[in-house]
């Protein structure tokens, strides 16, 4: 029994119209299934057209663009350079500090602005904290994709602590708009140093807890080892970067190989995948690289906290009005997802003439169809989770 709507007439015939589908040239054994953009584990609005033979994936086609926000065009239309910074936050909303860091470094090099020592230290600390927060989310949602619900919430508790520190420092929890060209928007809050040190101290045992709870869990290993193997050569050919590349055993980290900011002053390792549980370059390797990187970030934060000068104005070199000189450059930094590059062109006006963001998620995603062929549908979810994309960054 259906109630009629009082004002409009519903069509009387409710039978759906049969559509003739041309099946010529398609394999009848195979089924094309639409995964996303509203699928729970595509990490946002990614749409995958998956061709399946039974449960075996024979082809994957990524359809992107559902979150395209014209970052590059907006950046050109801004009045000046600093006005672009809030937009960089929104490229990768999970690691906004790293995005800002990449952009201000590019802009400072282009505009030839010196940055005070203290500012560099604070930037490195917040960038590494953000890296930990971002990896916590990546690892947590990866576990969630495989059905492990509780580790996700444990890790979110830790991420929450980082966001609390950021909130007290910058006033925002997700999109900070904290770094300025030549400095920072404001002084960090008075307890910044002690709170960060306390966080690192209590966070280290949690990494060990995560290793016990998830990394070496036999079901977890069964679901990730030998799955989605990405050989180093393929990773390099597809220009992958970040944990995706390092998971395949390539030791490439811009913090060491092309040091920016003050990263050359710190001692830390670059964890790479070793094929400990399965094949080199499988999902487990990509996962464990992220876990180990959190420990390395802790090391950097501790060293930076020790060496950080207590006195100094973070705003002293921030120009009142940014004046540009014509020029262009490409500056790259290591975001939690890989090589984040900003290609800037400035002409006579005060705003950038062109901003191109090289988003690591976008590049890393291109490897998905290659490594997911022949795996099962459940593995596809695991592979996608191990690549760790943020759709804001894929689409920009």
């Amino acid at each position: 029994m259906y109630r009629k709507h009082p004002t409009w007439e519903l069509p009387q015939k409710t039978d759906a119209v049969m559509i003739e589908i041309n099946t010529k040239g398609t394999d009848e054994r195979k089924m094309v299934i639409n995964m996303g953009p509203q699928h729970p584990s595509t990490h946002g609005v990614l749409r995958l057209a998956v061709t399946l033979d039974g449960e075996v994936v024979t082809d994957v086609e990524c359809h992107i663009g559902y979150l395209h926000r014209c970052f590059e065009k907006y950046a050109e239309k801004m009045d000046n350079f600093p006005a672009v910074i809030p937009y960089t936050d929104r490229i990768d909303y999970v690691s906004a500090m790293n995005q800002e860091h990449g952009f201000v470094i590019a802009a400072e090099r282009l505009l030839e602005i010196e940055v005070p020592e203290r500012v560099e230290y604070i930037r490195v600390i917040v960038a590494e904290m953000q890296r930990i927060a971002s990896h916590l989310l990546a690892i947590g949602t990866f576990g969630l994709d495989l059905g492990a619900f509780s580790p996700f919430l444990y890790l979110f508790t830790e991420r929450e602590k980082i966001l609390d520190i950021f909130e007290r420092t910058s006033g925002a929890r997700l999109l900070y708009n904290y770094m300025a060209i030549g400095g920072l928007m404001r002084e960090p809050h008075p307890e910044f140093k002690s709170e960060t040190a306390a966080f690192v101290k209590q966070f280290r045992p949690k990494i060990q807890e995560l290793q016990d709870l998830l990394s070496y869990n036999s079901i977890f290993v069964k679901r990730t080892a030998h799955i989605g193997v990405l050989p180093a050569k393929v990773a390099l050919n597809y220009a992958s970067s970040g944990p995706v590349l390092r998971g395949s055993g390539v030791k490439w980290d811009l913090r060491k190989d092309d040091p920016y900011s003050i990263y050359d002053r710190f001692e830390f390792d670059i964890p790479v995948g070793s094929g400990e549980m399965g094949t080199l370059g499988d999902c487990w390797d990509r996962y464990i690289v992220r876990v180990l990187e959190m420990e390395e970030s802790c090391k950097i934060i501790e060293q930076a906290l020790d060496a950080m000068p207590d006195e100094g104005d973070v705003l002293q070199n921030v120009p009142k009005r940014v004046r540009t000189k014509p020029g262009e450059l490409y500056a790259r930094t290591e975001s939690p997802r890989g090589e984040l590059g900003y290609y800037l062109i400035a002409d006579k006006g005060n705003s950038p003439f062109r901003v191109k963001a090289r988003a690591p998620s976008f590049v890393n995603l291109s490897v998905l169809p290659v490594i997911s062929k022949g795996s099962l549908l459940s593995d596809l979810v695991a592979i996608l989770g191990s690549i760790d994309i943020v759709l804001g960054e894929v689409d920009r």
Partner: protein
């Protein structure tokens, strides 16, 4: 006279229904509380005052108000029928469970057989719902569920059979009665799990298999939300979805209670004559069943999920040979001692 007996039958039929309904509402709340405590948070705290005890009632009210959506190309008859068959199957199986020494819905001589046969209807309703939804995700969930439930019925039945070999009866009341008393080692109860070392293995196999039968983690593939959206329930909403949910929780309790009867002495008190009697029997029976349900919840919030081929491997290559071997060993033990 006839009307009186019909009324009596209805009354007897209603009691399990009321138990299931009350249990399901509180089990959903309890599961969220268990999840909360395992995950370092509080769970529902608002509705109803004390620790959000009325949360499930609020959810139920919400679900009743929902619009009833049936997809345009769905098979409307089967789509509507599936949730009811699922609930009817798990509800009907409660008829042969001895809730206490003086209450059993139907004292069937082939009680275990009836229970196992009627719960097999569950997989039919899952396939029905998945197929009728006319959705690829639902179909996937249904197919996985069919394969899983049919496969895991074999180790379940084998481990149940091992108990039957020891007990010598298919009547669940008889199986329970023979576990009365506290003679094992002088003070332990006469529960079957304490009678025979191989029955402990049988219980482990039984418990793993009922996790798969009830679609619980780590075998929740038919509704694995991160892969199949919601599996066979994808297109269901409102009360129909609630029926599936209810049936799922009823199924959990049913299988746990079966485990309590077969291995833990059913309504027998663990202290011999102390705290025994029909009312206490009901208490002990539910307590044992709910403890097993709690373990299921505990596992759910701890482990990740198996993949479909690993699930089948576990069943056909490990559990089934092991359960057959165990069956033979139990029979030998019974012959010798």
């Amino acid at each position: 006279m006839i009307t009186e007996s019909i009324l009596l039958l209805l009354l007897f039929a209603l009691i399990p229904l009321i138990i299931i309904l009350i249990y399901a509402l509180f089990a959903i709340w309890g599961e969220r509380k268990v999840a909360g405590f395992i995950q370092d948070r509080l769970g529902p705290m608002r509705v109803g005052g004390w620790h959000g005890w009325a949360q499930s009632f609020a959810d139920l009210l919400k679900l009743i108000q929902k619009e009833d959506i049936i997809p345009a190309n769905a098979d409307r008859f089967l789509f509507r029928l599936a949730p009811f068959i699922m609930f009817a199957a798990s509800y009907a199986a409660f008829a042969v469970l001895p809730f206490s020494s003086s209450f059993i819905g139907s004292n069937l001589d082939i009680g275990v057989f009836f229970l196992l046969a009627i719960t097999s209807l569950l997989s039919i309703s899952v396939i029905m719902g998945g197929w009728a939804s006319n959705n690829k995700w639902s179909l996937f969930g249904a197919m996985r569920s069919a394969a899983q439930m049919v496969s895991y019925e074999v180790p379940t039945i084998m481990s149940v059979l091992s108990v039957i070999v020891v007990a010598g009866s298919l009547n669940l009341m008889t199986v329970t009665e023979m576990q009365s008393g506290n003679d094992t080692l002088g003070f332990l109860p006469n529960w079957l799990i304490l009678q025979n070392p191989f029955l402990i293995i049988a219980f482990v196999i039984f418990f793993i298999s009922i996790l798969a039968e009830a679609h619980r983690v780590p075998f929740d593939l038919p509704e694995s939300e991160s892969e199949l959206v919601a599996g066979f329930q994808t297109e269901y909403s409102g009360m129909r979805w609630a029926m599936f949910m209810l049936a799922e929780y009823a199924d959990m309790l049913l299988l746990s209670l079966l485990g309590a009867v077969l291995f833990f002495g059913g309504w027998n008190s663990p202290f011999g004559d102390f705290m025994a009697g029909p009312a206490w029997g009901f208490f002990w029976f539910m307590l044992k069943g709910l403890l097993l349900v709690f373990v299921m919840m505990w596992i759910r919030w701890t482990l990740p999920r198996y993949r479909v081929d690993q699930l089948m491997y576990l069943c056909w290559s490990i559990l089934i040979p092991l359960s057959f071997l165990n069956f033979v060993l139990i029979a030998l033990w019974e012959m010798i001692f």
